[in-house]
Structures are given as C-alpha cells and as structure tokens.
C-alpha cells in the first residue's frame, strides 16, 4: 500500500505547527495593541463639544489660571466643571454676539445646563481625588497633558491602573514644586530625580498602592 502522505507534506505540518504559535502570538499582540490604541483608550482623541471650547486659547494664549474655572480642584475629589455663569463673566462683555457662543447664552437665558462630553473618566469603581494630588505637588499637566496646547480637549493618558501605579510606585519621577502645580508650561528640570526625592520628603508623599486607596 502506497504512502498516503507524500514526503513534502511534512513541510506543511511544520508550517502549521509553528504557524499556529505565531498566529496565536500575533493575535494576542493584536488584542493588546487594540486595547492600548486610541480606539479603546480615547487617548489623543479630541471630543466634540456643544461649544468648541479651546483650552489653547483660554489657558495658553490668555493665560487664565486653571482654578478660575476648575474651582474645587484644591478642595474636593472633583475638579469642577464651570457653571455657565463663569463663561458669562467674560462673555457678557466680549464676543457677545458670536454665534459659536449661542449655546452658552441660551443656557444662561433658559437656566438649562450645557451638557459637556466627558474627556477624562475613570471607571465607577475608582474613587479618584483631585485635591490630594494637587496638594502633594502633582501638576495638572502631569495627568492631563499639554492642556494649554489643546484646541479641543483630548485625553492625554490612558488613565489605566497600570499608568496610575507607575506614579504611585515612583512619585519622585513626577512630583513638582507646589508653586508650579498649575503652571501649564512647566518642564521638569534635568535633575528631576534629585528634586523629586527632596519633594517627596518635604511633602511627606506616601507611595500608596493598596487597593482601598482607590477602590471601595
């Protein structure tokens, strides 16, 4: 009885076996890549807003302090999104007829809130607190990226737990002097590690990595 498989079939078997390993690995990588891609993480994806508000113009060109609008960032877990009234402090005087600002004026007239699209969000089981971070010398741009260069706002980091822990494990790599927290053009010095270590000591920064720090 002749052989059913020719000798060349061996090649096919080898390709299949090694190929499968390769394909599985490639698939795994693909899932990983998609998971970290902007499609899933929304990183660097500018969101449409009811009013095309530009941080670049307000915070960057005009130099308005972050806290002018995000008033509760130093006191509360939530940094605060400004009420329509805050917009109208200026826009009742300037650009009063701009069609772009009509939703703002309409909101102020009708007493109906503007529904902004959330850009930076963590899942519901994460209890993040802004106030403790800014009080311990973590700058706005450390997490939110170069906001003063964003025409429409986008998410600068994944806000994944791994990303949080990068800093929680080594805060000295990211901490800056408290006076520079709201400086949107801050550049870390060349000797960040030295400065960071000094600040960690001065600000009594703890490296909190236990679960109930954020989950409860």
């Amino acid at each position: 009885m002749p052989q059913i498989f020719k000798r060349s079939t061996n090649m096919l078997a080898r390709v299949t076996i090694y190929g499968t390993v390769f394909i599985v690995a490639a698939l795994g990588y693909a899932v990983y890549a998609v998971d970290l891609s902007p499609y899933i993480t929304d990183v660097n994806v500018a969101k449409d807003q009811p009013v095309p508000f530009s941080h670049q113009h307000h915070a960057g060109e005009l130099g308005i302090d972050c806290r002018y609008c995000h008033t509760s960032v130093e006191q509360s877990s939530f940094a605060g999104v400004p009420p329509t009234q805050t917009c109208m402090t200026c826009h009742s005087q300037i650009w009063v007829n701009s069609p772009m600002l009509e939703p703002v004026r309409a909101s102020y007239r009708s007493d109906k809130s503007i529904a902004w699209t959330r850009v930076n969000a963590v899942p519901d089981f994460v209890y993040f607190n802004h106030s403790i971070h800014v009080n311990k010398g973590i700058g706005c741009t450390t997490c939110h990226g170069p906001v003063a260069q964003m025409p429409l706002t986008w998410r600068a980091n994944t806000l994944y737990m791994k990303w949080c822990l990068d800093c929680h494990k080594q805060p000295e790599l990211y901490v800056r002097p408290r006076s520079e927290v709201f400086n949107s053009n801050y550049q870390p010095p060349a000797d960040q590690l030295k400065l960071g270590r000094a600040l960690v000591k001065e600000y009594k920064i703890q490296s909190l990595t236990n679960c109930t720090t954020c989950h409860r």
């Binding site: 999104v81 009420p83 805050t86 529904a115 969000a121 209890y127 236990n210």
Partner: protein, 1012 residues
C-alpha cells in the same frame, strides 16, 4: 456530639430543659434549635451558608436552562469585553449655588418627628440629595446618636411606592382642583361655624401647627379637632392626671440614678427621649477598672425587651399583674396612695430586697412606668419617685410637650360617635391611618363612609386614603418646613433637604389652604410664626440672626420647657381596675422595627432582625416556653387567636423570658396598601384590639390549626462553630473561651482579668513569621459589651452608609441576609427567664486573616494600616474566603440584590461606596470611605489624623457609645485605652487570627441580697 432532639415538637422542650440543667446553667446558648441540636442548626453551624438544595429558593429555572444561560452569557461576556466605555456627560450648574462644592457633602440640621416628638438629626446631602442621617450633637434628644427609624427615613423619602399624585375619587387630579373643592366646602361651613367639620391628626407638638389649628378653631368655633395614633401615650397623661390632677411631661435623668426600676418600660429603645436615655444609662455602666461603679437595673416586664435584657434583675410577669406589683412596691416604700397592697405571691423576697435597695439610694433612684401599663402604675411611679425624694434629681416635670395632651382613644371614640350621629360632613385626616389601625369595635372603615367629604393627607395612598374622596400626597419630613418639640420640650425646626419629589404638601400648607390662605409656602408659615413667638431670652436678638442660628444648630435656644413644681394628690381616685382574668392574656406592642405600621414599606426596617427574636419580615404570637409546652405548640405553628369574638391567625414564636400564660402580638403587620414591600406581610394584630383594653386583655383563646408557617429568623445564622474545639479542649479553660464573657461586678473586682485566657495570651507569642506591622496608622475597634443595648441601630446605619441591599424573606430564610454587622444574642440560664447578652459582630480585620490566604484572585488583601480590604472588581465569587472565615462575617451576593432599575432609588446611594453586583463577596470595610476622606483632609493640612476624627457609621449612630474606632498605634487614643483594659478580649483568640476588633467583657451588678 449530642443526639438531636426534635425541636418541632413542643413536648421535647422538657428534654431540652433537662439538657440545660445538666450544663449547670453556665452554658451560653443562642436558640432553641441549638439546644435541640437540630439538623437545620447543624447545617448553619458547620457551613458558611446552608447547602441543603431543598432550602434553595426555587425560581422556576431548570438545570438545563441554567446551562443554556451560562453558555449564552459566556459568549456575550466575550463580546462585551470588546466594547469601550460609553461617552459620559458632565452637566454643570448654570449658576452655581454658593455652598456646594461638587464631591463634598453638606450637612443640614433638622429634626425627625416620631409620634410628634422630635429627635435632632444632621442630614448628609450630596449635591442636593439627602443620603444619610446622623445624630445632632447639639440636640438634647439625640446627643449625636439616632435610632434605626431615623437611619431608615431616607429610604422612605425615596420609596417608589410613596403616593405621587393627588387623587380625587380614584382619578388623578390637581392641587388647584383640590383648592377649589375645599374653598367650596369652607364657604358652605361658614354659616354653621364649622359644626360639621372635623380634623383628625396624629399627636401634635408643633407650635406652628397648633397656632394654625387655633386660628382654624377661631374661624370655625364649632369645628372639632381630634387626635389619634394607635400607640399614643394616653396612659402617661392619664397617670399624671391621677397623680397631679393635670397632665405633665416627665423627663428622666438616668445619669443621676444609681438604682433604676422599670415597670414594663422599654425606656432604652422606645418612647420619647429613648436615644438620650440610652446614652445616659450606659454612661453609668461604663467601667474603667475595678474601682468603677455601676448603676443597677431591675426590670419587671411581660414581653422581653432590650431594657429587660440589660437588667441586673429581671422578673417576667404577666402584664395584668404588674399593677399589683407596683402597688406592693409602693406600699413597701410607704406610699399611702397605693391603696390595698396587691398580692405578689412568690416574689415577696425579691420585692423586699428591691425596697431596701431603693431605700439605700433615696434621691438617686428612679422608677419608670411603661407606656403600655395602666394609668395607675404611672401614678404610683410618680408617688414612689416623690416618696423617695427623686423629684428634681432623677426625675423632672415640665408642662406637656404635646400641644393638647388628650386621651386619643377617647378622642377617636367621640369622632366615631359624632359620625354615627350624622353630625360630621367634612373630615380631614392627616397622617394617621385609622382604617388600618383604629380599635376593632369602632368599625372605623364602615363609619368613615358616612362622612360626606373625606380628605386624606398622607405619605402613602393607604387603607384610609382609599376610602377618602380626596387624597393629597404629603411631603416627607425631609421635604418640608415644620417644627416639633423634643422629649424635654426643646423646639427643633424641620427644614427640607430637597424640594418635594412628588409635589407633596405639608400639613401647614393644607391647613393654610383650609384657612383660605393659599399660595403661602410652608417656609413662610413656620418663619412667620416664630417671628412673634420666639422664646423670651431670644427676643433681644435680631430675628434673622435668631432664625439662622436656630436653623444652623437644629435647636432653638431657650425653648426647652422649664421644670415645674407639682403637688401629688393626697389620694388617687380609685380606678376601675379590671380583675386579673384567668387563662391566657394577650399583650399588644408596637413592632420594634416597623412601629405601628407606618414603616411597613421600608425594606431596611423590615429586614433588620428584631431585637431578641431576630425575626425579619414578620410578626408572630410570642409566648413563653412553659406556655408553649402546655398548649403543645412550637415555632411556626399557625394558631387561631380569638378575643371577644374577633379572631386572627398567627404563627407561634417561643420567646425565652416571656411571662407565662401571656401572648404578645406586635402591631404594624398585615397591611393591605402599604406598598410592594409591606403588603400582605404578617398578620394584623389591630383586629383584636379594642379601645377599652388597648394594651392587654384577658380571656384569649388560642387554638391550633395544624398548619405551619415559615418564619425568617436570623438567630441561628452565622453561628461561630466551636463544637469540635469544645470537645477537644474539654480540660483547658474551655468555658473561659466563650465568645461572650460575663461576670458580676463583685467577681470583676476580685479578679479583674477574668475575661482573659492566659493560654491564649501566650499563644500569641508563638509565630513562625514576623508579626504584621502597621508603621503609620493601625486601625482598630473596641466594642464595650457592657454598654451595648442591642437596639440594632448600627445595623441600619451600616445599611445606609454602605449601600447594602435587602434580600427578601425567602433569601433570609436561606441565610443570605447582607448585613455587614450583626447583633448576636446569647442566653444563659433556664428557658423561662434567661440572662440575655448582646454582641455586635462585624469583620474583625484580623492581622492574620484566614480569608486572605485562600482567595485565588487576590480579591481580599491586607492594607498596611491593617484593613482587610475587599476588592469587588477582582472578586470572581469562589466564596473560599467566607468558607475560611471563622467569624462568618462575609456576605455574598448570590443574586442581583441591589436594585439597579428603580430610578427613585439612585439618589439614595452613598456616592462614595460601590453598589455591588451579583457574584461578589462583600463585608465590613471599617467604613474605609470615611477613613480615606479624613486622611486626605489631614494630609492636606500636613498633620496627623486626630483621635475621634474618623467615626465609622456604626460608631456614630450608637446611642450607648459602645463602639470606639481609632488608631491603636497611639496609646493615648480612646480605642487604645479601652483595649488596654483588663476586660478586653478577642473572639477565637486561640486561632491566632489577631483580630483588630476586640470586645470588653460584660459586667452585671446584681443585688447581693438576691443573687450571690
């Protein structure tokens, strides 16, 4: 292992007694099932949850369906992992309110009225949503604590079954239409000066409401105002009339009393001022060391109560016989008004010791009569307190706090008589639900229909609303402006935390409408009243300052009623005392958790285990083991109770310590229109009640029906299994290792270290690995069992704080209640009058936590500060942890217990605590959200957390201050000082789990004349 006895047969109680007798009366036990050693008990004992598939609640899903669903959900779970978080919206204010910082709660002071009497509270508000009630430290009736009712009031506020629309003859109508209708009625009655007009309200202490009622009576002089609440304090006022000729308000000062006698009074857990009384009482039982003193409590009562459980000497006695006992006691003290000395029979020796103890503590003793005892008992208590020189010291009299302290039974009787005589053509009913709870012989429902125009104002479209032409939804007390007096007369302003969810109206607004003043808000009515009526001392202040201060503090300064002198009548009018009826007596009580029925639709209150019985979701006919034996009935047997031709069917519950030949039934159950929680639960005890014998009656007939009824009790749930251990260690101090440790004060003085087991202590030194270290903070808790009164407020507070779901009766029967803290009840001694001890058990936060070792996914881990953390999003539901927890404090979401679909319940939740889903384990976190919030504030101010700054929910609510939490690394902290006491011990210390929660042993202070 002992042979099980069939506990379902009452005849076997004798065998149980024999077994208890062999133990010499020193053994602690928890339930009849435990004593009998039933299979059900063993199942609960040996497993964290019972496994008998027959007990598994069946919901019609077959095995095949389950497999199909599992396959489908596995596939869908795979798919859903590919989606990303949906876009969310941020909706800021248009104009930001001044005080609100998003993410930070605000606290407002207001008062919670119960039976008209106010308890001061602070309500936590998140962005305008009231979520949690705390006590108001400034308020004399609260002192910072509350009861379960106050904790659960937020759930009633958001109850989806609350009345949401104004109804006219079964159809939805409007406030405007209603105003027109009552305008017409008002005009029609003007000519007759309101002769056919009647108002029926609950007890009124509100000065503003009283002023409005007076104005209404001025406008309609022939109108009559009636008050009715089923559990009003009629006998209290009647007793004062007997003693002093006029009604007075009695304020007790338990902090001044060394010897206290309660004549059927549950002063720790019911009645006005009970929260404060519990605080004062337990403060006098606080023991720092052998030199400390304790007060002594004697309780004579029929139905076992929390106060009875705290007693150093407790005498179970039929309710009818207590008057005789009071007379004998009064005669012993030398009160001449007592009349002929009643017979006390075998209690002569007890009574003698009591009299001598009182005599030794003249001016520092106190006699308290129960709200359910006849007026004569109250009058005698007043006379005894006067004779013992207690007036002005432990007891103070003031004017009544009620606007008009009438006999409400009589008031309702008069109303029904007028209706029968055809004299009533307009009836406004506020709050009270007489169709459900009026005495049976008045046939209120039938008579009500004779009234031409019937208007009902209430929170629910209930049994009474159904029979009225108009039903107006009432604003909840957290939605409305009002005022009310506390137990000592202090006025608290009720301010709304939220505008009415369903456009409800307050009584003030309705009365204003009746007066023809429409369009005036509740706020203006209350404020206008106090503009002219503020207390004399406050008159020199600017009104706005006075008003703002009063609102801010929750208390009106200078409004407490001043003490007044009273003169005792030389002789008490002889009351027509009913002869003690032979045979069974029936005793009526408001339910300990749902009250007179008004809280029937509150799931939290339905599911917190009732003190002592640990029953949930039901009432029962309670009787003593002896009587059960005689009648050959046992737990869950359905019996027919008949009294004067009226009957009701009720399940039996054998209650240890209940007086023999007496049956207690609780009100509040058997509601027909309470809502989806309260409908058709339990039986209606009001059907047996008559206005002539409102609290007890003789001549009860009890007949077995042969049917069984499943009662959901948690008494034998989560029992700590020590059976194997006991046998193994028969020789080594096994009895000293009880979970509950008790001694008398005398023993404690001789042996201050009685609670400590030296072998246990030495085993702590044995370790293979270095011990757990908390270099920064080390959180720990101490629970003083000498203070705990077993009220269960901690359970409700935890439920409110930590978003705990309710599970329903069937799931409770299966042992799946979700409470993170439970109050274990232990008995010691015979079945008929055992000593009772409470022990709140929550997660011990063991340093060597057994649960952490077995979790395959690291969902329960240890924090450096010693918290045993539960990470919900890691948990896959293996339940290994709860299987390995010797304390059985872990709770598993077998089903989706949290209500994720009812919109009105969303705002109720604490935003700082995750709402758990199905398949997740959970347990006490030491309120980690509160720890973190305080730590963050302290860090921001660059300082350490101060002692007492972090207060857990259970600690905050505790009226007895039994729970203390703090950093045990600092020896100066309160918690460390408590743990340093010799009474301090850990549960199951021999397992070397090193629990962070420890207990301080309970002490009793018996009279050496009665018990050596």
């Amino acid at each position: 292992m002992t042979k099980p006895i069939n506990a379902t047969d009452a005849a076997n109680l004798a065998a149980i007694r024999a077994r208890l007798g062999q133990a010499g009366g020193k053994q602690f036990w928890q339930s009849l099932e435990e004593l009998a050693g039933t299979d059900e008990y063993r199942e609960f004992l040996h497993h964290e949850f019972p496994r008998d598939p027959e007990k598994e609640p069946v919901d019609g899903t077959s095995r095949r369906d389950v497999l199909k669903l599992m396959a489908a959900s596995a596939a869908l779970a795979g798919l859903s992992a590919c989606t990303k978080l949906p876009d969310q919206k941020i909706v800021p204010y248009v104009r930001s309110p001044e005080e609100i910082i998003p993410g930070k709660p605000l606290f407002y002071a207001t008062s919670m009225p119960q039976g008209g009497v106010a308890t001061g509270i602070l309500v936590e508000s998140h962005m305008g949503r009231p979520t949690k009630v705390e006590g108001n430290k400034e308020h004399p009736g609260s002192l910072g604590a509350t009861d379960s009712f106050a904790q659960a009031s937020v759930l009633t506020l958001y109850d989806p079954d609350r009345s949401q629309v104004l109804v006219h003859e079964g159809r939805i109508s409007s406030w405007a239409a209603f105003l027109t209708a009552i305008g017409t009625a008002r005009d029609a009655h003007r000519t007759t000066k309101g002769a056919g007009m009647r108002l029926l309200t609950e007890t009124v202490t509100s000065p503003t409401l009283k002023a409005q009622l007076d104005a209404l009576r001025a406008a309609f002089p022939a109108m009559k105002w009636h008050q009715y609440e089923p559990c009003a304090r009629n006998v209290v006022h009647e007793g004062a009339r007997l003693a002093f000729g006029k009604p007075v308000n009695t304020v007790y000062r338990f902090d001044q009393a060394d010897v206290i006698i309660s004549l059927d009074a549950d002063f720790l857990c019911s009645g006005p001022g009970s929260v404060r009384y519990a605080r004062e009482f337990s403060a006098r039982r606080r023991v720092d060391g052998p030199e400390s003193k304790m007060n002594r409590l004697y309780v004579v009562e029929c139905t076992p109560s929390n106060t009875g459980a705290m007693a150093d000497h407790r005498l179970p006695m039929r309710a009818q016989e207590i008057e005789d006992f009071a007379r004998a006691l009064a005669a012993g003290i030398g009160v001449h008004q007592a009349g002929p000395k009643g017979a006390v029979g075998k209690h002569e020796r007890w009574l003698g010791a009591l009299v001598r103890d009182l005599d030794k503590h003249r001016g520092a003793c106190l006699i308290v009569a129960g709200e359910q005892q006849p007026a004569m008992v109250h009058a005698l208590a007043h006379a005894m307190n006067a004779a013992l020189g207690n007036v002005g010291k432990t007891v103070v009299y003031t004017d009544p706090i009620e606007a008009e302290p009438v006999d409400q039974m009589q008031s309702l009787r008069e109303l029904v008589a007028d209706i029968k005589a055809g004299q009533v053509d307009f009836l406004l009913i506020h709050g009270s639900n007489p169709v459900f709870n009026a005495p049976a012989e008045l046939d209120f429902a039938h008579n009500l229909l004779r009234v031409k125009l019937r208007i009902h104002l209430g929170l629910y479209n209930d049994e009474t609303a159904e029979l009225c032409h108009w039903h107006v939804p009432e604003a909840h007390f957290l939605e409305s402006w009002s005022d009310a007096r506390a137990y000592d007369g202090t006025v608290g302003i009720l301010q709304p935390l939220i505008s009415p969810l369903y456009d409800g109206k307050s009584a003030h607004e309705l009365l204003a409408a009746l007066l023809g003043k429409t369009g005036i808000s509740g706020h203006d009515i209350v404020r206008e009243h106090w503009k002219s009526q503020r207390p004399a001392k406050e008159k020199n202040k600017d009104f706005e300052t006075f008003w703002q201060t009063t609102l801010h503090d929750g208390v009106m300064t200078g409004s407490a009623l001043p003490p007044r002198a009273v003169t005792l009548n030389a002789a008490f009018p002889s009351t027509s005392k009913q002869d003690i009826a032979p045979g069974l007596e029936i005793v009526f009580r408001p339910d300990p958790t749902i009250g007179d029925g008004r809280y029937a639709n509150n799931g939290w209150l339905q599911e917190i285990p009732k003190p002592l019985t640990k029953l949930t979701w039901d009432n029962a006919a309670m009787l003593s083991p002896t009587t059960a034996e005689r009648l050959r009935v046992s737990n869950g047997d359905v019996v027919k109770l008949s009294l004067n031709g009226r009957e009701v069917r009720a399940p039996i519950w054998i209650q240890f310590g209940h007086a023999a030949e007496s049956v207690t039934v609780h009100f509040g159950y058997g509601r027909r229109r309470a809502g989806r929680i309260g409908n058709g639960v339990g039986f209606n005890a009001y059907t047996l009640r008559t206005s002539g014998s409102p609290w007890f009656a003789g001549g009860l007939q009890l007949e077995r029906t042969g049917e069984k009824y499943a009662l959901a009790t948690t008494q034998h749930h989560h029992m700590v299994d020590r059976e194997g251990k006991k046998v193994e260690e028969e020789s080594v101090n096994a009895d000293q290792r009880d979970l509950i440790r008790v001694a008398t004060l005398a023993v404690f003085r001789k042996d201050p270290k009685f609670a400590q087991d030296h072998e246990e202590e030495s085993s702590k030194a044995l370790k293979l690995y270095p011990g757990f270290q908390s270099p920064g903070y080390a959180w720990g808790m101490a629970i003083d069992l000498n203070s705990c009164i077993g009220c269960g407020a901690c359970v409700t507070a935890c439920q409110a704080e930590n978003n705990l779901p309710i599970v329903g009766k069937a799931e409770v029967i299966a042992g799946r209640e979700m409470h993170w803290i439970r109050v274990d009840t232990y008995f010691r001694g015979g079945l008929d009058s055992p000593e009772t001890y409470y022990e709140p058990v929550l997660c011990m936060h063991c340093e060597n936590a057994p649960c952490e070792l077995v979790c395959p996914v690291g969902a329960t881990v240890h924090s450096p500060e010693g918290l045993n953390e539960m990470v919900y999003n890691r948990c896959v539901g293996t339940r290994y942890c709860s299987n390995n927890c010797p304390y059985k404090v872990r709770r598993f979401n077998f089903k989706l217990y949290s209500d994720w679909t009812t919109p009105s319940l969303y705002p109720l939740r604490n935003p700082n605590v995750t709402v758990r889903s199905r398949g997740v384990m959970e347990k006490c976190t030491y309120c980690v959200q509160r720890i973190n919030a305080v730590k963050i504030e302290a860090e921001k101010q660059d300082r350490d957390v101060n002692d007492g700054e972090i207060v857990t929910a259970c600690q905050a609510v505790c009226p007895a201050e039994a729970i203390v939490f703090g950093d045990i690394n600092d020896a100066n902290n309160r918690v460390s000082k408590l743990k340093a006491q010799t009474r301090n011990y850990s549960l199951l210390a021999e397992l070397n789990t090193r629990p962070r929660t420890t207990y301080l042993a309970r002490l009793r202070n018996p009279n050496p004349e009665i018990e050596v």
